[in-house]
């Protein structure tokens, strides 16, 4: 009660008030119930005996003790009041009253105590166990509690024989316990159930009606036929059995109560089946029947409850299983050990491969192809209760090949439960993944492309096994940091790569590519073409830089060989052309010299011998003069040869000329590891000139710069700038090469002046000659920090100025 109060949120003041009212109410109810039930008990008393047929107050007291054990004192007091009032009205002596109250209270309390103690819960008469405990407690409590009153009755002379008194009391009390408390205790839930299920209610009513019918037959309609046939006392037994089995302890107790109420008057009047018996004997017979039939039937009722409960549990579990089956898409088969289909579950019946109505009773080999059926047979043999066999297979279903995975477990002794999962999509996805991985590996292997990924924060770099292989390394031999790998890079390339990667990780560049040299495990140099892309993350910036590295050593070697061949060819060609030129010049000069020498020698002979005439000598000397002049003319013409004749000029854009030359020289610049910085004017820079000659100018200056930077320790950087001034177009090309000394500055544009071991000394002379022909100027200044800057100024084309 108090916990109910707490749950309802009463205040403590309310609670004490409430608790008083409840206690008083409880006491009043108990006292009244004891009083009224005592009156009922007096009515049902045996003729000429103080002991009742049943003693309802005991049932009331027991139920009160059982339901509100914590208020036992209130219950006991109230019961005493009701008892004394009823018994005093009845006129029984006080001693008898006291003895019977003591016996009744003891019995009720003991039974309640035993039940609570043994049942351990508030489940009374719910199943076989609690029913057994109930009956045991009833019998034990009655037996023990009847000892004192029976002894007292005899001592007081109220009863003659102890054992008769004890027996009468025990019998009455046990019957009381069997028929009344179950009705009292279970009525609320049982009646609620009957209200919910009308069919059950009708059934229950039919049982009660049947009992009335039997009673009417036994005592009303044919008294003569039933007279003196005590066996007919058992006529209600089938209906009692029905009630026990179908409606449990409540139904049985209610039916027994009905029987007792119906039959007791007949027993007391020795009517019907009791004809010939004394009323006392008839009542005892009825008691005996109620006891003999009631106790076993109560046990049966408990058993029925058990059964009902387990059936409900089974139904629940069945329902759950059904729900599971409905929810899962897989096929399921239950088969006997030899493969006969006993049951199946299939979302789509076409998965069965046979029409659904033909399916059950078929064997595995009737449904599946022979080889697959054989695999299933083997799997059946290996399947155990806790280790399923697995069969993976593919069969054509609905016109396409589908893959399945069957898991076979043993169940129900020697049956096999098979769950078949459609793994077609999974298998296809796996195959696609495998295919794509294989293609990737194949492509990467074929292209000799290796993958790398650098984690900026940890500085760790993942490098593909393919790259390891290209460098003759075992996986894991180098690393794991970027710096470990940079150690392998050729010293000349290292700083450049570090700064490129740095600009990627700083977020200055999103993608880059470069060629670099890496030292192979065997000490040789391999060329790699490296591409990278920065992988940014929102809010954090670049977190990873990943890319590929391709071994291009073969290509590089080919390129270099080709370049060497081209260079050799050009040099040879140049030398041959020059040799040809020189031979021509030499011949042209040699001829007059030859003549001069011959003439002079002839003169000398004639002068020595005085053989020749003066005329001869004069002629010879005249020829000497002529030939000398001729030789001089040859020399003049040769110089003329180097002077440029008129060339065709057009309006030209200088930036495009520079770009063409850079494009032509890309390979050479890369080979020289030259960083090119082009800072070109956005405006068109128009000059009047000859495209080929101006290309020659840029080409010569670029070549000169690249040559000057060859073999230098510092980074080779070529900077080309173009811009316009007021009346001229300007171009500058700076290099980080060796530069030039003031001594060289004066002569560097002279023909045949060179600082290169294989140079002709013609480049700058020709270049300046071309620039001058374009009415422009070419000059050089030292570059701050080492190197040279060559400047070209060309007059702006007319259109440009306008």
């Amino acid at each position: 009660m108090s916990d109910v109060a707490v749950r309802l949120g009463y205040t403590s003041a309310d609670r004490s008030n409430e608790s008083f009212r409840q206690t008083f109410g409880l006491a009043a109810i108990v006292a009244l119930a004891i009083y009224l039930s005592s009156q009922a008990g007096f009515l049902l008393r045996l003729p000429q005996s103080g002991i009742g047929f049943v003693w309802p107050p005991n049932a009331v007291l027991f139920v009160a003790f059982l339901l509100v054990p914590q208020s036992w004192a209130v219950v006991l007091g109230a019961a005493l009041v009701g008892h004394v009032v009823a018994h005093t009205q009845d006129g029984l002596p006080v001693a008898i009253q006291a003895l019977s109250f003591f016996g009744n209270a003891t019995q009720a309390w003991l039974a309640a105590w035993l039940i609570q103690r043994l049942s351990g819960s508030r489940l009374y008469l719910a199943d076989l166990r609690t029913t057994g405990i109930f009956l045991g407690a009833a019998v034990a409590a009655s037996s023990v509690a009847s000892l004192v009153p029976a002894t007292g009755y005899v001592w007081l002379g109220w009863a003659a024989d102890f054992s008769a008194a004890w027996w009468a009391r025990v019998l009455a009390n046990v019957i009381t316990m069997v028929i009344l408390p179950p009705v009292l205790l279970l009525a609320p839930s049982a009646l609620a159930e009957l209200r919910q299920k009308p069919r059950r209610a009708v059934e229950f009513a039919a049982i009660l009606a049947g009992l009335f019918l039997i009673h009417a037959i036994a005592f009303g309609w044919t008294p003569a036929a039933v007279a003196g046939r005590p066996a007919l006392l058992y006529a209600p037994l089938p209906l009692l059995l029905w009630a026990a089995v179908r409606f449990g302890p409540f139904g049985l107790a209610a039916a027994l109560t009905t029987v007792a109420i119906q039959w007791l008057p007949n027993a007391r009047s020795s009517a019907g089946v009791f004809a010939g018996d004394s009323p006392a004997a008839a009542v005892v017979s009825l008691q005996a029947f109620l006891f003999v039939a009631g106790v076993p039937l109560m046990i049966l009722a408990g058993l029925a409850q058990d059964r009902k409960r387990s059936e409900a549990a089974l139904r629940q579990s069945e329902a759950r299983k059904r729900a599971i089956l409905t929810a899962i898409p897989d096929l399921m088969f239950l088969q006997s050990a030899d493969g006969v289909y006993l049951d199946y579950h299939a979302k789509d019946p076409t998965d069965l491969l046979l029409p659904a109505h033909e399916f059950l009773g078929k064997r595995t080999e009737d449904v599946l192809p022979p080889d697959l059926a054989a695999r299933f047979a083997r799997a059946f043999a290996h399947a155990t209760d806790d280790e399923p066999s697995v069969v993976r297979y593919a069969i054509p279903i609905r016109g396409e090949m589908r893959s399945y995975e069957a898991r076979i477990a043993r169940c129900d002794g020697d049956h096999r439960l098979t769950i078949v999962q459609d793994i077609t999509e999974r298998t296809r996805a796996e195959e696609r993944l495998r295919d794509s991985e294989r293609r990737y590996v194949l492509a990467a292997t074929a292209a000799r492309v290796g993958v790398w990924e650098w984690d900026v924060a940890s500085n760790k770099i993942y490098v593909d096994p393919a790259i390891h292989a290209d460098l003759g390394l075992r996986p894991g031999q180098v690393g794991p940091t970027l710096d470990d790998w940079l150690e392998l890079v050729h010293a000349a390339d290292r700083a450049r790569i570090r700064s490129t990667l740095q600009s990627g990780s700083d977020g200055h560049a999103t993608a880059f590519e470069y060629d670099c040299r890496v030292v192979h495990h065997d000490g040789g140099i391999r060329w790699f073409h490296v591409r990278g892309a920065v992988v940014p993350q929102d809010g954090i910036g670049p977190v990873r830089v990943s890319g590929t590295a391709t071994d291009i050593t073969g290509r590089k070697q080919t390129e270099e060989a080709l370049h060497r061949a081209q260079f050799e060819l050009a040099r040879t060609g140049r030398a041959a052309a020059l040799g040809e030129l020189a031979a021509t010049i030499a011949h042209e000069v040699d001829q007059p010299l030859c003549a001069i020498v011959a003439n002079a020698n002839a003169c000398l002979r004639w002068l020595d011998d005085t053989d020749g005439g003066v005329q001869d000598i004069r002629e010879a000397l005249a020829d000497v003069v002529a030939d000398a002049n001729r030789a001089s003319e040859v020399v003049r013409r040769t110089r003329e040869l180097f002077r440029h004749g008129p060339v065709e000029t057009t309006s030209l854009e200088v930036n495009s000329v520079v770009r063409e030359v850079l494009a032509l020289n890309r390979a050479r610049l890369e080979r020289g590891q030259v960083e090119v910085m082009a800072d070109m004017s956005d405006d068109p820079l128009l000059v009047q000139g000859n495209r080929v000659q101006l290309q020659q100018v840029v080409f010569n200056l670029v070549t000169n710069a690249v040559d000057a930077m060859r073999g230098m320790d510092r980074v080779a950087r070529l900077e080309i700038r173009t811009w316009r001034e007021r009346t001229s177009i300007r171009l500058s090309i700076s290099d980080t090469g060796a530069g030039f000394s003031p001594k060289d500055a004066a002569r560097m544009f002279d023909s045949f002046f060179t600082t290169k071991p294989d140079g002709l000394g013609m480049g700058l002379a020709l270049t300046r000659s071309i620039v001058q022909q374009h009415r422009g100027k070419l000059w050089a200044v030292p570059r701050a920090g080492g190197g040279s800057v060559f400047h070209v100024a060309l007059p702006m084309a007319e259109t440009n100025i306008a």
């Binding site: 030859c594 001069i596 011959a598 002979r605 001869d616 030939d627």
Partner: protein, 207 residues
């Protein structure tokens, strides 16, 4: 010197041509100059010792070409090449083809005159040998077939008896033929006959 020597000059450069001719004249040599190979080939050459001063570089038929053509003619001529520059492969080819000398322009007078002198001597010697050969040849042609057979076997070192056995004639007949051969060939001794046989021009030489 029974016949006066002559030096031919072929050079397309007239001033060089004139100057060289003047130099040779000053050295007392007779010379004749041509501006091209073809004109030289067309011209009728004189008898007597001679040589050719040839410029390598010529318009039309060049020097080496002319050398090849001259190698096939009846009267060979020693050639002194003049060239503007020392081109070794060309020099080698010219020398292999029998050039007497290879000089570069401008040429030193002493070198040129020395080379000319040598070439003329060599030509004179060649001419003498040619005359001797022609003489031997005409004597040999006078021999009867039998006498040629006998001469051939005798110069190969066989005794009269062996020659007789070889030819199936008597030793006496061999002696007659042998005496006839010695007479016709104007050989004073067997040794002289053997030497004559050795110097006979190819084709006429007894094998």
């Amino acid at each position: 010197m029974p016949e006066e020597a002559i030096v031919y000059i072929v050079d397309d450069d007239s001033s060089v041509r004139t100057a060289l001719a003047r130099l040779l004249r000053s050295a007392g040599l007779r010379c004749q100059a041509f501006p091209s190979a073809d004109e030289f080939l067309r011209a009728e050459r004189r008898a007597g010792p001679q040589c050719l001063v040839l410029d390598l570089r010529l318009p039309g038929t060049n020097g080496l070409e002319l050398q090849r053509q001259l190698a096939g003619v009846e009267r060979p001529i020693p050639i002194i090449f003049l060239s503007g520059h020392g081109d070794i492969p060309v020099t080698v080819r010219a020398m292999k083809a029998g050039a007497s000398e290879f000089l570069t322009k401008p040429v030193r007078d002493r070198e040129l005159l020395e080379a000319i002198k040598k070439a003329l001597e060599s030509d004179r010697e060649t001419q003498r040998t040619l005359i001797e050969d022609a003489r031997l040849r005409s004597r040999y042609d006078d021999l009867t077939p039998r006498e040629r057979e006998v001469m051939q076997l005798v110069v190969s070192g066989l005794l009269n008896k062996q020659v007789a056995a070889e030819l199936g004639i008597s030793e006496k007949t061999v002696k007659v033929h042998r005496a006839q051969v010695m007479h016709k060939m104007r050989a004073g001794s067997l040794a002289e006959l053997v030497r004559m046989a050795d110097h006979m021009p190819a084709g006429a030489r007894p094998s």
